[in-house]
Symmetry: C2
Subunit: 265 residues, 2 copies
């Protein structure tokens, strides 16, 4: 065991100046050396996007004992890559991302830049956790979030996660948080996703909006259910997205294509 | 059964003018009405990124019988959303994405804009397939790809995919394709991901590059193994990324947080 303090890398997708990343980085300072590397402005909905073919920059904006802040011109995943490849002299013991201003529950995990950074950490075999708070307000009070962040971070630093698994934590905005539920991701999709607006010059364009349709509102094991009842939802997520239970079913494709060999070759 | 031809929506992440989307859309014309909705320029590495807070436009660039082409200023996922919300009068029977100029095998599926569009189709309960060719050249010849695309599309139109499952198809660049293998996603990560360059003004910046490290090169059930032996790899992928085998292991978090209730509330 090294006698060094744990190294914790922090990022988000709302940008380095967002209140959420301040709340998160302050909440975890007691657990180790904290390095914040975050986008210079908001990168919401960036998923696991990376930036090829563009000059990437990383700049220190704050430093004190065991706490430093850097900003980059990249996405959340770029932030993790830049931190690990150009900045840190050892592998982080933990990556945390957030606290996102807005929910990343259910299928929204797919679009989330907060969770993109977490999955990047997981790909690099680092325990990684995303925290999101179910209010999009810039000045939301993140009520109760801090204690849950501390408890989850403390537990994961002590017990670790299995390889290839990361956590998607969502915290509801409610008067009293009821505890934690380990959940699965609720199934659903978005509807009415655009608003057609006409600008001053008479040009029409579409603006992203929409409504999430939860197709299983009564399923008590889902994150959506937990959040709607005042629980903090914790969904363990994989980076190996293979649909293992389909491998056998689809093997007919190997066969049917062998039979068509005459066409293929 | 409707007597209408199947409606096939096509997109990519290399942009509407890429050779790959031309090859793909031509290959599948025999199977139905084809609508291409693709980004106006390259959007590589965009994963499932969406574009909030920006005016989205969609413009028709070509039309003939049962074949039309539109371009948008969005990401691959935006293209699917724009097509379904603002353009198509019925749900597509199939979404195909690609042919990507470059591999999207192993963990690269996470960063892939090609596969972001496919996962978007899957979220919307439409059978969806991504095709990638293992050469990044703009003028690559996609040798042999066309027949495999036809055979796979034909089979999936006939047999369908299970709900929540989509396909990641990679086609190696090789003299003779050996057939299809149904695979799992190989595990690995990228190393040495940036090159430090100095521009004419003496400013330093990082450019994304790197090497993929396959941590299981001998695993015969992976896509990397299949591709390196000249097989077309087909990985069925999930959009529900819950790590189901971790739900029980992590239930201690519910308990430990109940015990800490005094701290929390």
């Amino acid at each position: 065991m090294s006698n060094k303090k744990p190294l914790i890398l922090v990022t988000n997708d709302d940008g380095v100046d967002a209140k959420g990343i301040y709340v998160l980085s302050q909440a975890i300072r007691e657990f180790g050396e904290v390095v914040v590397v975050a986008p210079d402005s908001a990168r919401s909905g960036q998923s696991s996007a990376i930036t090829p073919n563009k000059a990437m920059k990383i700049e220190k904006v704050y430093q004190e004992d065991d706490f430093s802040i850097y900003k980059t011109n990249g996405t959340p995943v770029d932030c993790i890559k830049l931190a690990m490849n150009t900045l840190l002299d050892r592998k982080p013991d933990l990556i945390v991302s957030g606290v996102n201003h807005g929910s990343n529950s259910a299928v929204c995990v797919i679009y989330s830049g907060t969770m993109g950074a977490v999955m990047e950490g997981c790909i690099n075999e680092i325990d990684s956790i995303g925290f999101s708070f179910c209010s999009e307000k810039h000045d939301t009070d993140f009520a109760g979030a801090e204690n849950y962040i501390k408890l989850i971070v403390d537990n994961i630093l002590k017990n670790g996660l299995e390889k290839g698994v990361c956590l998607n934590v969502n915290i509801p905005q409610t008067e009293e948080l009821k505890g934690v539920k380990i959940c699965r991701q609720a199934a659903g999709y978005w509807t009415k996703e655009y608003e057609l607006k006409t600008d001053e010059s008479g040009n029409e364009a579409y603006w992203l909006t929409g409504y999430f349709h939860n197709i299983e509102p009564d399923a008590e094991d889902t994150d959506e259910w937990a959040l709607s009842r005042g629980f903090v939802s914790v969904v363990p997520c994989v980076i190996d997205i293979t649909a293992y239970n389909q491998l056998k079913r689809l093997s007919y494709l190997e066969q049917s294509l062998k039979l068509s060999e005459a066409i293929v070759n």
